[in-house]
């Protein structure tokens, strides 16, 4: 989103004509990702020193599995932001899709229908949003703000705030294990790696950076910008659908609400992970790492006995600190 005229997306520094060393290249390409990773490692060591139960298998499972859906949704969000757009309706969408999924499961449809039909619905809804953004040229923040109202209002008026219970056990895939690892963890890693490779090496993936980084240049090189934006929103809907599967199947009930400010958490994960809000740069590895960092912070605060009421303030402060550090780092490199 072009918020102002002067803040150009950061340019990777080219210090010399020689091929730079491996480490320097890694720092230049994945600087923010490495910072987030370092923060996770430091946090793990520090909290474990205070309370060794922090790295118990139980807690690790709850950190990774309970929040994997945020990381998966952040993959799609990262792609949307890389093209210079944004989606503030994602939280409401996940709530709607979860309700559809649960309703289908309880109504006796085959389990795979209950899992994957919502994915199609997510792709359709976001495809529509993409069309409004790309062809009707309404800014994505306006469209998704409207979509947020429509989805949230629709969800509450349809469900009336009731919870869906009596879900069939086979439906609850997020509670199951695959090769000894929780399914959400496996899904998060596989999806992140596939999306990261696709974004870095496929022509389509590269074109998304061009659309966000320099639309005029993208047009000049023959990239159909409108179609790319619709496609990226459909993809975002796809990841939102997959995130919904992980979210809806983790408990015995599906509530008609999602965690408050879920959309902000997902956007923050993408941005803290290094995606420039102005478009054109960032990776999905960063967004997944940032989602893990948030989950780790939340869990760590409980383990070092911070009052639950101060939780959000501390998380907010840490987010702000990361944003400021990121801006200072960028200013130095540019």
């Amino acid at each position: 989103m072009a918020m102002s005229g002067v803040d150009l997306p950061p340019v990777r520094p080219q210090t010399s004509l020689q091929r730079p060393g491996f480490l320097r290249r890694l720092m230049a390409d994945y600087g923010q990702e490495l910072i987030v990773l370092l923060a996770i490692v430091v946090l793990f060591i520090a909290v474990t020193a205070v309370n060794p139960r922090f790295i118990s298998a139980n807690n690790l499972t709850s950190i990774f599995s309970g929040n994997a859906y945020i990381a998966v949704a952040a993959i799609g969000m990262a792609m949307v932001i890389i093209t210079g757009n944004i989606d503030v309706s994602i939280g409401a969408l996940i709530g709607v899709l979860a309700t559809i999924s649960g309703t289908l499961a309880v109504a006796g449809y085959p389990i795979w229908v209950a899992w994957f039909f919502p994915v199609l619905v997510g792709m359709a809804i976001n495809g529509l949003i993409g069309i409004l953004v790309a062809y009707f040229r309404i800014p994505s923040i306006v469209v998704t703000l409207g979509a947020l109202s429509i989805l949230r209002g629709g969800l509450i008026s349809v469900t009336g705030g009731t919870w869906i219970s009596d879900l069939p056990p086979a439906f609850l895939i997020a509670q199951q294990k695959w090769l000894g690892l929780p399914v959400p963890l496996v899904a998060m890693i596989v999806l992140t790696v596939l999306a990261a490779l696709w974004m870095r090496y496929s022509a389509f993936g590269r074109s998304l950076y061009a659309v966000g980084g320099n639309p005029e240049a993208a047009v000049a090189t023959g990239i159909p910008i409108e179609r790319r934006i619709v496609a990226v929103f459909i993809l975002h809907g796809f990841f939102a659908g997959l995130a919904t599967i992980l979210f809806a199947t983790q408990l015995q009930v599906i509530q008609s609400t999602v965690p408050p400010n879920l959309e902000l958490t997902i956007i923050m994960a993408a941005v803290i992970g290094g995606v420039s809000i102005l478009g054109g740069s960032g990776t999905v590895i960063g967004s997944t790492l940032a989602a893990i960092l948030f989950a780790t912070i939340g869990s760590a605060l409980i383990f070092v006995n911070v009052s639950a009421y101060w939780l959000r303030a501390v998380i907010g402060l840490l987010i702000l600190a990361t944003v400021l550090a990121d801006m200072l780092r960028r200013r130095r490199t540019v």
């Binding site: 102002s4 005229g5 923040i141 703000l145 109202s149 629709g154 959000r312 944003v323 801006m327």
Partner: protein, 314 residues
Amino acid sequence: MTLRSLIRHETFLAILLVLALVVLSWQSDRFFTVANLLNQGRLMTETGLIAIAMTFVIATGGIDLSVGSILGLTAILTGVFWKNLGVPLPAAAVAAIAVGTFAGYVNGLIITRFRVPALIATLATLALYRGLAEGISQARSVRGYPDWFYVLGQGEVLGVPTQLWILLIAAVVAAVILAYTRWGRTTYAIGSNEVAARFSGLSVEGTKLALYTMSGFAAAVAAVIFVSRVSTTRSDMGSGIELDAITAVVLGGTSIFGGRGTVLGTVLGLCLIQALKNGLSLAGVKGDGTIMLIGIVLILAVLASAIFERSGTR
């Protein structure tokens, strides 16, 4: 006055508002009464004050998502200063408003000094300020304010709700500032082309800092009115109000990219939303159905004005 200048977003919006009023008063005979309309004015004041300040912020091409959290923080502090610290209530309210204004100033500092995009900066402070409100309140609410305090949120002056006067004055002052003063023109200039504004010698940073501070101040004043209206303080007050305010501003024709927008448009957008909310609930539509409709109206209004504008430039 040519025909083209009449086909403005505000005209379109005013027609829509009149249409909505006609249809809604035909639906329910309890809608178009003086008592009901004044009461609706009471209900839209908090969002209105925030939306008026937001008009300036969005006209510079920025955004302020933290206003709901500033409202919550200010509300909590009003209660805490008064009840727990024993400060007299007027002083407590003023001190809380000062903190809320400072919160807006901090937003401005982060945005202008560190060059963090407004969306991200205020997203982060949204979490921070709400977190502070929760931490300070420890989920306790403060009640039992003295009677005179309720005049602000529940009383009347000359037959009109007290806070509606405040909204009216704020709207007129803001409209004059945005349309006719140097400060207002600078706001548009920043939104149209920030680099050009800087090269023209305009104080870009100073203006932005002042606008985000003003946004914080508006949210803080709204908080005190809110507390007076509902007779209690809770840490979750005002959550989601940023979206209501932004919807009113964008519906009112302010470009989300900056450079364009009027206070009149925002006020019309605000009235349209409130009329729809109230009229539909009187017609038997549940509150959640209304939220849906507002989303649809927002998208359609922007779509229509985008189409009008395109046909106008060709």
